[in-house]
């Protein structure tokens, strides 16, 4: 009995001794940052995806691009290419590569040479050249096929060790913008060769090697990704030694973990609960981000092939109520698919205001007064749509008022996208997040005829006139001409209405104030290149 009690007491003291909050941080804790990401990456190569989760986890951390886009200066800045010049009337671009760039040295690969033209050629040919060895490893390259970059680039020519020419089929003003995205990364050709000798080419996307500020350490599905600092990084690198992605799909739990100090940064906090983060050591930031959420009609399926039906349904939706309820006012009502910050933005068209009377009239005109449709609502939270299912419910009741019976459909995210690409839906609530500053990025990946084939065109809408305008717009570099062309394109969209733009939202992020230097560029994923952590002592000095 006494023994049991003394045991009990000692056990409690041991347990309680661990209870006191630490006054001094242990070194590994002050030299590392934990980012609580919202999901598993699909792969460690952003060339293979368009998913924001994967881009956030890989692109800016593991890799570099030939050029970067500086959103503040609104200009392209050198990265792996020190300089570049357009030749032959803009159909050939010459890139002069940077000397002395080291690839990651890890326990699975030790590079014997520095970065050179061979790596650029390999990385581009991977998605460009269907005959290249690695093209079929990993399968498809949705960003490049959706933007048409794989059709635009004729070939990549190595001029000498440190010079590369990219030859285009025609001049395209969106070329540099696409090159500066998170997807056009540079891989190691030497590593690829080593893997193909070992007959394990698929490892290139699972155990990545790049030139970026962090190198891959380990990945446990549903638990974490561990990166360590790349010691020989060619430009200013992070002030921390370790970056951990703690995978936390539940938004509530992410916020809790930030409060308890188990996360340093979290993406997508619940906008409705932001006041819970109103604490001294936490900072909530939001960026106007180039995104749009929309309601796309499957125009291949009747009655959605009739523009009148699409217009009628659009008049039936109270979009302002959606913005107040779903976004808590942290979004702007979309008047066009382009966000108002874009230079090609145009809001001169017809406004589809909430008007049930008119909706009913238009439906009668189209001969569809009794309509039964389904609304596909995506199951995940995205920056452009924090709660698609709830949004669908609001729309369901709006539609019921004009005599349209709507059923809400939802699947697990991967299944959802796969079935969408097959065109099984009537209408879908989804959205788009721009990868670069060019307005083209809102049109071709979403609404071109080419995007119907790749599954990116959720409306399955192919309009030859509209497509023609898009191709004219990218063929010229004259900004005024381009603007006019994009405005006509928006006019066509406004009349045809293959999709109803709903909102442009802000991307929210919350972080500990002790974390500095984490960038959330308006175009692309989160960037930890300059991340540092200040200790409490340093903080009080400032």
């Amino acid at each position: 009995m006494t023994k049991a009690f003394s045991l009990l007491i000692s056990a409690t003291t041991i347990l309680l001794s661990g209870c006191e909050p630490g006054t001094e941080e242990v070194t590994p804790l002050s030299e590392g940052i934990i980012y609580c990401s919202e999901g598993n990456p699909d792969t460690f190569n952003p060339q293979l995806v368009t998913s924001g989760t994967t881009v956030d986890a890989t692109a800016a951390q593991l890799y570099d691009r030939l050029i970067d886009y500086d959103a503040e200066k609104q200009a392209f800045v050198p990265a792996l290419a020190e300089s570049w010049e357009p030749l032959d009337n803009g159909t050939r671009y010459r890139f002069y590569l940077r000397e002395g760039v080291e690839f990651h040295s890890t326990d699975y690969f030790t590079p014997t040479r520095e970065f050179n033209a061979e790596d650029v050629r390999f990385s581009f040919n991977r998605w460009l050249d269907e005959t290249s060895l690695y093209h079929n490893v990993g399968g498809s390259y949705p960003f490049f096929s959706a933007t048409g970059l794989d059709k635009l680039i004729q070939k990549v020519v190595k001029v000498d060790e440190m010079t590369v020419d990219i030859v285009l089929n025609n001049a395209d003003s969106s070329f540099l913008a696409n090159l500066a995205t998170d997807f056009a990364i540079v891989l190691s050709a030497e590593y690829a060769q080593l893997l193909s000798v070992k007959d394990m080419p698929y490892l290139i996307d699972q155990k990545p090697i790049g030139t970026g500020p962090y190198r891959f350490e380990s990945f446990r599905k549903d638990v974490l990704i561990r990166y360590t600092k790349h010691p020989d990084y060619w430009r200013e690198g992070p002030g921390i030694k370790q970056l951990v992605y703690s995978i936390t799909p539940n938004a509530n739990k992410r916020m809790l973990k930030l409060v308890t100090g188990e996360c340093d940064i979290i993406p997508y906090p619940l906008i409705s609960e932001l006041q819970a983060l109103n604490r001294d050591d936490i900072m909530v930031t939001n960026e106007v981000s180039p995104n749009v959420s929309f309601w796309a009609f499957n125009t291949k399926k009747p009655p959605f092939d009739d523009p009148l039906v699409r217009q009628a349904l659009s008049h039936a939706i109270n979009r302002q109520a959606i913005i107040d309820t779903i976004y808590y006012g942290n979004a702007e009502l979309a008047r066009s698919i382009l966000p108002p910050t874009s230079w090609a933005y145009d809001n001169q068209g017809i406004q589809y205001d909430y008007n049930p009377e008119k909706a009913r009239k238009l439906l009668e005109e189209a001969g569809n007064s009794e309509l039964s449709i389904n609304i596909w609502a995506m199951p995940v939270q995205r920056v452009y749509n924090p709660n698609a299912r709830r949004m669908a419910e609001l729309m369901q009741s709006d539609l019921a008022q004009v005599g349209v019976n709507a059923r809400i459909v939802s699947y697990e995210w991967n299944t959802f996208r796969r079935r969408l690409s097959r065109g099984e839906h009537d209408t879908v609530l989804i959205g788009w997040y721009a990868d670069n500053a060019d307005p083209d990025n809102f049109f071709r990946p979403l609404l071109s005829c080419a995007a119907v084939a790749t599954g990116g065109n959720r409306a399955n809408w192919c309009h030859p006139g509209f497509d023609q305008l898009l191709y004219e717009a990218i063929a010229t570099t004259n900004a005024n001409e381009r603007k006019a062309l994009y405005q006509s394109a928006q006019h066509i969209l406004n009349q045809q209405l293959p999709l109803l733009p709903i909102a442009h939202s802000r991307r929210y992020q919350a972080q500990k104030k002790s974390v500095r230097g984490v960038q959330l560029p308006p175009y692309g994923g989160i960037n930890f290149r300059l991340a540092t952590k200040v200790t409490t002592a340093e903080e009080s000095e400032q």
């Binding site: 009995m1 049991a4 009690f5 045991l7 009990l8 056990a11 041991i14 347990l15 001794s17 661990g18 209870c19 006191e20 909050p21 242990v26 070194t27 590994p28 804790l29 030299e31 590392g32 934990i34 380990s218 446990r220 599905k221 549903d222 638990v223 974490l224 561990r226 370790q242 951990v244 703690s246 936390t248 739990k253 809790l256 973990k257 409060v259 308890t260 100090g261 188990e262 697990e412």
Partner: protein
């Protein structure tokens, strides 16, 4: 004793056989291809025809079952459909992570539940006894998920004392080897073992306490009733008559005999712990079997579901066997029943 031993082992083997028949038939009940469900090799894979041939997909069911058992016993449990990892290698890591919680909770439950139960018995029908018993009733009826939310809110959010997810702060960089975080820290080559251990203990506190509440209260009530029963027995009166003081009567005579009947319930408490651990692990993101099972169900990862079901059932069976054997060895009366 030998007869008792062999009869217990026999029961164990029969139960194990039925269990494997059940998991084997799961392969056919799950949607999709049985061979895929067994091995994680998809039908469009290059290896599928070979695997299918080896597994005897076209042969009779008895052959397939024997083949399944051979693979099962040699640790060949197939690959996960969602991650492609070998299931067996991950099973023991998850199991050890779960056991760390469960053993911790069981020890805590025994350390607090048993003495308080005995204490309550000595105060039978007194105000203290009534207080303890009502507390036990309340503790037993609180659903674990609710208790978890409550304690998280208080200790983690309000007081900011304790972390709420995982086994340890990932920045310590402790690589999972055994799966049990305390063991992993000790065998790791980290420079910060002491700090890491403290951090891991902090992570253990909340889940262990929450998990232990229900079995603790159950043990308390069982122990109190059993001890009280014993205290009414003539031999206790005889002991008192011999002039032993109350404490000696309790420790030497009442408690050992009360333990016997309580011990009979321990396997039940253990299964209760295991099923509650599924909830607790999901709440605290503990990388144990329960958490793994729940995720596998969402992802329709049949090889993993099967492994989890098998390992959970097997753990309960083994625990039962051990307790039975201990009781048989310790209390001769059990052998005669």
């Amino acid at each position: 004793m030998i007869r008792y031993l062999s009869s217990r082992l026999f029961v164990f083997i029969i139960a194990f056989f039925l269990l494997t028949v059940f998991t084997f038939s799961l392969n056919f009940f799950f949607p999709g291809d049985p061979v895929t469900n067994m091995t994680g090799v998809r039908t469009f894979s290059d290896y599928y025809p070979v695997i299918s041939e080896i597994r005897g997909a076209d042969k009779n069911i008895a052959f397939q079952y024997i083949n399944y058992m051979q693979n099962l016993l040699s640790g060949n449990w197939g690959a996960s459909l969602s991650s492609g990892d070998y299931v067996f290698e991950h099973t023991y890591q998850h199991l050890f992570a779960s056991l760390e919680l469960i053993v911790g909770a069981l020890v805590l439950a025994v350390l607090i539940g048993v003495p308080s139960g005995i204490f309550a018995a000595t105060q039978f029908r007194g105000p203290i006894d009534k207080g303890v018993i009502s507390l036990a009733m309340a503790g037993y009826s609180i659903p674990v998920f609710w208790l978890a939310q409550l304690l998280i809110l208080f200790f983690a959010v309000k007081l900011d004392w304790l972390p709420i997810t995982g086994q340890i702060n990932p920045l310590y960089g402790i690589a999972p080897q055994s799966g049990s975080i305390l063991i992993d820290i000790v065998i790791s080559d980290s420079d910060y073992k002491a700090a890491a251990l403290q951090d891991a203990l902090n992570h253990l506190i909340l889940p262990v306490i929450i998990l232990s509440i229900m079995p603790m209260m159950l043990l308390l009530r069982l122990m109190r009733n059993a001890t009280q029963d014993m205290l009414q027995k003539p031999y206790v009166k005889a002991a008192r008559a011999r002039g032993l003081n109350e404490f000696q009567v309790l420790i030497k005579h009442a408690v050992p005999n009360a333990t016997q009947s309580v011990l009979q319930q321990v396997p039940l408490i253990f299964s209760l712990l295991l099923s509650n651990s599924i909830v607790i692990e999901s709440i605290f993101n503990w990388p144990g079997i329960g958490n793994w099972l729940v995720r596998a169900i969402f992802e329709r990862d049949f090889p993993v579901i099967q492994a989890c079901v098998l390992i959970i059932a097997l753990t309960i069976l083994l625990f039962n066997l051990v307790v039975d054997l201990y009781r048989g060895w310790r209390f001769p009366i059990v052998r005669q029943e």
